[in-house]
């Protein structure tokens, strides 16, 4: 290009298209190649980013769900997988290519300038190291502030979501109006702190641009003044002028994609924190010898102390054991320990005489029917939900024993009614009955039922408790968590957690 322009300027006699055809064709070819390369780079980095994000998302999900229920950082993981990991895309599609280009193109451009005009190359070489130097200095200065700003952003976001989730509650209390100024206030605080950070953060972009444009300007002035004395050719001068921006251009792109790099780093950091903080799952290979469940003095600690605290019980096949006690004394946690989801801090859990640590958990789970307080509902039909953990041998009797038949009768399409996500369309009580039908309908050797009748009225409760008794009589080991007298009355054995008088 420079040769061409210089030629056109210096030798007016050559100003015919024919004379310059080879140069023009070469130039056109190079431009086309550049456009093609740009396109290919864009596509490839996009695909790479997609694959990496999907892989990381799966790993986070697998690790988090494998942790003990109490230690699952589900909210954090939800934000990360649904939102945070997308922050990696700009990192892969924009920052990485820019970084690689600056590593390759910048030295190449300097070498070419040096071939034509060594002084211009020197100017560029002096300006260039100043850029990383200033960037590092400014980076060190802003690192703390950026971290604070990021935290503030997160806080603001979660506050806003918390307030939105609380709208029905605030409306009921007549205080929904009061929170709007609070959000405006939070936003203003966030804006001020962010702007304070940006004033310094943008200094790095400023230095980068200043050195880049000033570098080009100095090269132009330098070659211009030497042209006057005739110590440099016009072609060399133009080459230096045209290539000088190319030295700085990739670096400037790295600078503008700095945020992409930061976001990417943060997202990577969070993902690895979630993956690494979790222990690898245990592997035991033994099978239980029968289904006697024994808890010996088990304690599981959390921040409020131990819950359960030195709990012992023995649940035998063909009997109902009821676990009762005040709230917060670890009844649900005890069930999780029996299922092998939560490790005990002290004491032992034995299933059929085998310590749970040595058990093949997946094999053990096939024997368990576990009904948590809030049973899972998947988007799909009622039938899909009933058969979620295995096809029920007799759907009709399962629905009858759990009282779900009454609910079915009110649903427009019976078993084929589509349920919205997260059980929309069923009340808590109806949902509990669906969970009961699903749990009682399967021939499990062990039933772990967490407050199975908490949302039911007395008639329904009697019917369900009778079905639970029947299952025990048929040989199952049944462990029920419950409060009410009716539930306590079906227990062959009643075990109390905690000190009953603690709350009264």
């Amino acid at each position: 290009m420079a040769q061409l322009v210089a030629g056109v300027l210096t030798e007016p006699g050559t100003r015919t298209p024919a004379h310059w055809t080879p140069a023009l064709v070469t130039l056109a070819g190079l431009w086309a190649l550049r456009a093609l390369a740009q396109w290919a780079q864009n596509r490839l980095s996009q695909h790479g980013a997609t694959a990496a994000i999907a892989e990381l998302g799966s790993q986070v999900l697998t690790s988090v769900t494998a942790a003990p229920p109490r230690r699952q950082r589900t909210d954090e993981a939800a934000i990360l997988v649904t939102h945070g990991l997308d922050g990696l895309r700009p990192y892969f599609t924009r920052f990485l290519p820019a970084a690689v280009q600056s590593a390759l193109l910048t030295p190449a451009a300097i070498v070419v300038i040096g071939c034509y005009d060594i002084r211009s190359a020197l100017i560029v070489l002096i300006a260039l190291p100043l850029i990383p130097l200033f960037m590092v200095l400014i980076g060190l200065l802003t690192a703390d502030r950026s971290a604070v700003a990021l935290t503030a952003m997160d806080t603001l976001q979660s506050r806003l979501l918390d307030l939105i989730a609380g709208i029905p509650t605030l409306t009921a209390l007549g205080r929904a109006e009061g929170a709007a100024p609070r959000i405006a206030e939070l936003s203003a605080v966030h804006r001020r702190s962010t702007m304070a950070t940006l004033r310094i953060t943008f200094l790095s972009a400023f230095v980068l641009e200043l050195l880049a444009t000033l570098g080009v300007a100095l090269v132009a002035v330098s070659v211009g003044l030497r042209l006057v004395t005739g110590s440099v050719t016009l072609a060399a001068a133009l080459t230096a002028l045209l290539l000088a921006p190319e030295v700085f251009w990739p670096l400037r792109r790295v600078g503008t994609e700095f945020h992409a790099a930061q976001d990417g780093k943060v997202a990577f950091g969070r993902a690895y924190a979630l993956i690494e903080s979790l222990d690898p799952p245990r592997r035991g290979g033994r099978r239980p010898d029968g289904f006697v469940i024994e808890l010996q003095d088990i304690s599981i600690h959390d921040r409020d102390g131990a819950a359960p605290d030195r709990l012992s019980l023995r649940a035998e096949p063909a009997s109902v054991t009821v676990l009762t006690g005040p709230n917060g004394t670890g009844k649900s946690t005890a069930l999780q320990a029996i299922a092998g989801l939560t490790d005990v801090d002290t004491g032992r859990v034995r299933i059929g005489g085998v310590d749970i640590a040595e058990l093949d958990l997946e094999q053990w789970w096939t024997h368990i029917g576990w009904l948590p307080q809030r049973p899972v509902l998947i988007p799909g039909t009622v039938r899909d939900n009933l058969n979620l953990f295995g096809t029920l041998p007799d759907v009709e009797s399962a629905c009858r024993t759990s009282g779900f038949d009454g609910v079915l009768a009110t649903l427009p399409d019976g078993l084929d009614t589509e349920l919205g996500r997260d059980g929309a369309g069923l009340s808590l009580g109806q949902r509990q009955r669906l969970g009961l039908a699903r749990t009682l309908g399967r021939p499990c050797d062990v039933l772990l039922l967490d407050e199975p009748t908490s949302h039911l009225d007395a008639t329904m409760e009697d019917r369900v408790l009778q079905s639970i008794r029947d299952r025990a009589q048929a040989g199952a080991t049944v462990l029920v968590v419950g409060h009410r007298d009716a539930v306590l009355s079906i227990g062959d054995r009643v075990v109390r957690t905690g000190d009953v008088d603690a709350h009264t």
């Binding site: 130039l27 405006a184 001068a237 008639t459």
Partner: protein, 520 residues
């Protein structure tokens, strides 16, 4: 419930943004002026450098170059300075608009029917509200600003080149139009379709992710966790594939400016060679070299167009969030209870029989008659803040002693005393920080603190142990024991323990359920 604030969202799509963003126009214009100044400096630097070098080659006295030398250095500096100011100004505008949008979103949501908000799972809220607000606010800094700057700059570049040679000016104008309008338009049009696919996949993906995260333990024991995670992974990859398709035109759009720059440069060189032998060498140099630098502003336009599209999608999602009322939402069908001051009523009935509906209808009825009535839902929200603030939502002017007394009344006294930080204890993640029973009691303490003359409590003793539930129900339903004797208390429960004497009301209508339709 009338929702006039929502209907005003329906209108011309592009102008609805302004209602939410409420940008500060002077600031935005200042940012545009600064951006234009910064890129004009770059353009001037390129043009004057070309002139300087060619003029120098003619070997004039050095003094003849001094003005150009000074200008080159000046523009070398002003570009960076103006760029810095522009960034600050545009980010300030964007942050202010994001704040306005958040406030406005909240204001409109709080005026919407509770069912609109209730039905959203937390993951969806995160995805929708958070991301959409950010996307929307970005529209100013990333779309409006670059478009305005590119328009001003393109016109100046075409004018300069056109004065030197109209043909080359026309070629440059054509290339700028292709790179600045056709490429972004193509990119945005294709991106719109693909982003919609991606948005749809995202909600499928989020649903699968939330299923695995919320019900992980049960799914794991049931042997379904691996399948649900595989499902989430499949949705993730599918949404990734859709995102890849969305990016395809963006890659083309990124390549087009490069082609256009090449085209206009070659065009300028060709015109210089063939058409304008009479021009001075300095003008020729400017003519040939200026097109190289004229595309800097235009290169940003495909991204700006995609940002515009994203903002439009984000706006639609926010609008959907606000208007997502379930189809055929039934007004509470029950006949409201008639209550007198100081009444104690227990509403009894099977689960799903319509106790909640009756309570809601009663609350509505009281409001119509000008009586203050508060409905306390079974699953009310605990905020991710201190214990104190969670109680103060009930009544802002209550002092610590009143709060402690209320907690004592509901049986949380020992718990409060066991907390090292007392009322300052943070309830991290809201409801997750306390057990189900503690949560019930906290909500009950809130009801105690309010000044409503009619208090409607939905299943207030669920998940409590039998003795406590009995005791609390008794206190609630005995005038003066928990609530002052002149306040009216209505409690919906499915079991009323023996020994509590109060007015009872039985609900038996099957099929009516919680005020929500049986299926959505």
């Amino acid at each position: 419930m009338p929702t006039p604030s929502i209907t005003d969202l329906r209108g011309i799509p592009d102008l609805r943004v302004l209602d939410l963003l409420r940008p500060r126009w002077p600031r935005l214009l200042a940012a545009i002026a600064l951006g234009t100044g910064a890129l004009s400096s770059a353009l001037a630097l390129a043009g004057i450098s070309a002139w300087l070098i060619t003029r120098a080659w003619e070997m004039p006295p050095v003094l003849a170059l001094s003005v150009a030398v000074v200008l080159v250095r000046l523009f070398g500096i002003s570009r960076a300075v103006l760029g810095y100011c522009e960034r600050l100004a545009s980010h300030d505008v964007a942050l202010r608009s994001a704040g306005n949008t958040r406030t406005e979103l909240y204001r409109r949501l709080s005026a919407a029917p509770p069912s609109t908000v209730l039905r959203l799972s937390s993951g969806e809220l995160v995805a929708r509200a958070g991301a959409s607000v950010d996307e929307l606010a970005d529209v100013l800094a990333r779309a409006v600003l670059p478009i305005a700057v590119a328009a001003v700059l393109s016109v100046s570049a075409v004018t300069v080149v056109g004065v030197l040679c109209p043909t080359a000016g026309a070629a440059l104008a054509g290339a700028l139009l292709i790179a600045g309008i056709w490429a972004p338009w193509q990119a945005a049009r294709a991106a719109r379709a693909a982003e919609q696919i991606a948005a749809a996949h995202h909600s499928d993906r989020d649903r699968a992710v939330m299923l695995a995260l919320q019900y992980g333990p049960e799914l794991r024991v049931g042997g379904k966790l691996a399948a649900v995670i595989a499902d989430a992974d499949r949705e993730q990859r599918r949404s990734g594939a859709a995102a890849d398709r969305a990016a395809r035109p963006a890659a083309v759009a990124a390549a087009i400016p490069v082609l256009a720059t090449g085209f206009s440069t070659l065009g300028a060189v060709l015109t210089a060679i063939t058409l304008v032998p009479h021009l001075s060498p300095t003008s020729l140099a400017v003519l040939m070299l200026l097109p190289l630098s004229s595309f800097e502003a235009v290169v940003a336009l495909p991204a700006a167009a995609i940002q515009l599209t994203r903002a439009r999608i984000a706006l639609r999602q926010l609008t959907d969030l606000l208007t997502d009322a379930p189809s055929g939402r039934q007004a509470p069908a029950a006949t409201p209870l008639t209550v007198r001051a100081g009444d104690r009523v227990a509403v009894l009935g099977a689960s799903g029989a319509g106790k909640t509906t009756l309570l809601l209808a009663t609350a509505e009825h009281c409001h119509e008659k000008g009586i203050t009535a508060g409905f306390f839902a079974e699953d009310a929200h605990l905020f991710d803040t201190t214990l104190r603030d969670n109680l103060l939502v009930a009544r802002g002017d209550a002092d610590d002693d009143e709060l402690a007394a209320a907690l004592e009344r509901v049986g949380l006294g020992p718990w409060l005393r066991s907390l090292p930080e007392g009322l300052n204890t943070m309830l991290d993640c809201g409801a997750a920080a306390v057990s189900a029973g503690q949560r019930r009691r906290l909500l009950l303490a809130r009801a105690l603190l309010t000044a409503f003359s009619v208090v409607l409590l939905d299943e207030p003793t669920e998940h409590l142990d039998a003795a406590d539930a009995h005791r609390l129900l008794g206190e609630m339903l005995t005038p003066g024991a928990m609530f002052a004797a002149d306040r009216t208390v209505v409690v919906a429960t499915h079991q009323l323990p023996a020994g509590i004497n109060c007015r009872t009301h039985h609900v038996n209508s099957a099929g009516v359920d919680n005020g929500y339709p049986a299926h959505i």
